[in-house]
Symmetry: C2
Subunit: 346 residues, 2 copies
Amino acid sequence: MRVAVVGTGLIGGSIGLAARARLGATVVGVDPEPGAAIETGAIDRAAPLAEAVAGADAVFVATPVGVLEEVVGTVLAAAPPGCLVTDTGSVKRAVVAAADDERFVGGHPLAGAEGGGARAAREDLFDGATWYLTPTRATSGVQLERLHRLLTALGARPAVIDAEAHDGVMAAVSHLPHVLANVLVGQAAAALGDDRAGGWAHVGPSFRDATRVAGANPELWADIYSANADALVAELDAAIAALRDARDDVAAGRSLLGRQLEAAAHREALHTAAAGGELAELRVVVPNRPGVVADIALTLSREGINLADMSLAPSPDMATGALALWVPRDCDDRARTLLADLGLTA
Amino acid sequence: MRVAVVGTGLIGGSIGLAARARLGATVVGVDPEPGAAIETGAIDRAAPLAEAVAGADAVFVATPVGVLEEVVGTVLAAAPPGCLVTDTGSVKRAVVAAADDERFVGGHPLAGAEGGGARAAREDLFDGATWYLTPTRATSGVQLERLHRLLTALGARPAVIDAEAHDGVMAAVSHLPHVLANVLVGQAAAALGDDRAGGWAHVGPSFRDATRVAGANPELWADIYSANADALVAELDAAIAALRDARDDVAAGRSLLGRQLEAAAHREALHTAAAGGELAELRVVVPNRPGVVADIALTLSREGINLADMSLAPSPDMATGALALWVPRDCDDRARTLLADLGLTA
């Protein structure tokens, strides 16, 4: 099988690695700087777009969202009849509407969107990851079925979704949170700016968690916001309305208890579903010394208890850390006992 | 020294443990259910409020914010002349204004606000933690100096701040983020509710980080919002205005690149200051097996590289996890080399 990958960054490079290792494919890369992809074995060789595409059975376009429509158009013009063409952009309506071609199926793997580059590419990046597919009425059933099988072979779990629904969901669970994180760090900077309260050093771990994605990859994210503008505007309008309701309640002296309880129920649903099973959260405070967290993880692992998620937030002087551990619900009691044996109270 | 602690939960209990161990104090607890505090050694004995306070040199009121003013008033009425009275509430103006007494100094330790209870109390909870003090013109200089020394002896770093400034900063870096997290899970629930996109299982790690505090301790937090209503309203108004600006930019087709870059700068400032030194962030993907994270932490620890912060987010199938590690900037290269020796690319 001959695969062409246009754009050999983290996503494109990982597709190349997986296609070579798992499909025995010959992978040709298209990239202005293909060096890293060649060195890491993500592609067999580099070629100009027209040449790479002309000889391909399947083409993955993994460029930034901002140039997706243009590149997909160029690829479709150069691709032979029967060639499968797909993309990996995190916004789908525009590219799907522009690529009105039976050979094209829009796609979006939920994997490794942040940071990266070709050197971070991995063969197993997509193992178990949702890979959204957004076919249209123009899409050939044969091509959709081919791509579905191909992605499963790469380790992913394909999930067909309407492009509009996809963009709406992404606006709510990904694009809006990024904008809110930006707002949060901006207001914290305004509140702390004159250092009257000791500045950023006094900001706690929950603020750090809430703002991890603030200012992420500015060029990439500015493009994503633009590409999903109307769905993002709808989510921003809803957020503004919800904040205004909360604001009016607080200003009028009404309790937010109902909203807080509602949010607790949503968060519980999130944690239950995200893990594919119920998790229990354990909190312990540990000395912030080399080896301590390792010792905890090893102690649990020796008993076969795996950590589904973990969050370590150091105290202001870095002497201790609040460690949150998520373990399968049915390992809850055993984990507490093991932590107690280490002198820790969860 | 005789210390009374009114409310023997996580904060009150930890004050008791530290005062007994580090000051040799006799600690009397006031709590409707003092059993856990007695069993864990947080207090020497329990007593009714009037009796406990009458014999005390210093009284710490560590009740929920909602009843703080009332309890502090009762304590001041019962406390002998020369007795130091302070509180640990996370909102300060109202209690400080109500307790117009030379013996009273408002306080707020930035430690262990979440979860807990008496059984989670620890002697070292306040080690290195900022402990805000909000004296007024009514406050005796002698009492302020006594409390300052006392808190230092408990391990904390006292920081004097005006009550109004304190509440403004907390509104920005703590109370607003909690309200935003609630809004985020609400909108995600609306977007995912009919499961057209596969539901919560497809939500990524950045969403989980952003919403860790959603719905936290509903009763406690509803009280905090109410107690800091005007400062929270001001932050909500600012957030609504910032979101409206962003919304109008997106709707008009203007790029958010400038805002994203600005947020990146704020976040960098946060990470630099929060650690008391510059940190480098390393990202690796690891198999989600028992022992793997432990192995990484141990390998770094053997070389004396401590983890300032850590975040592990599992892939959808729980087979791998994206591990973010924050290490001191000057250990950056060495950490990368050690990770590479483990077959991991950071």
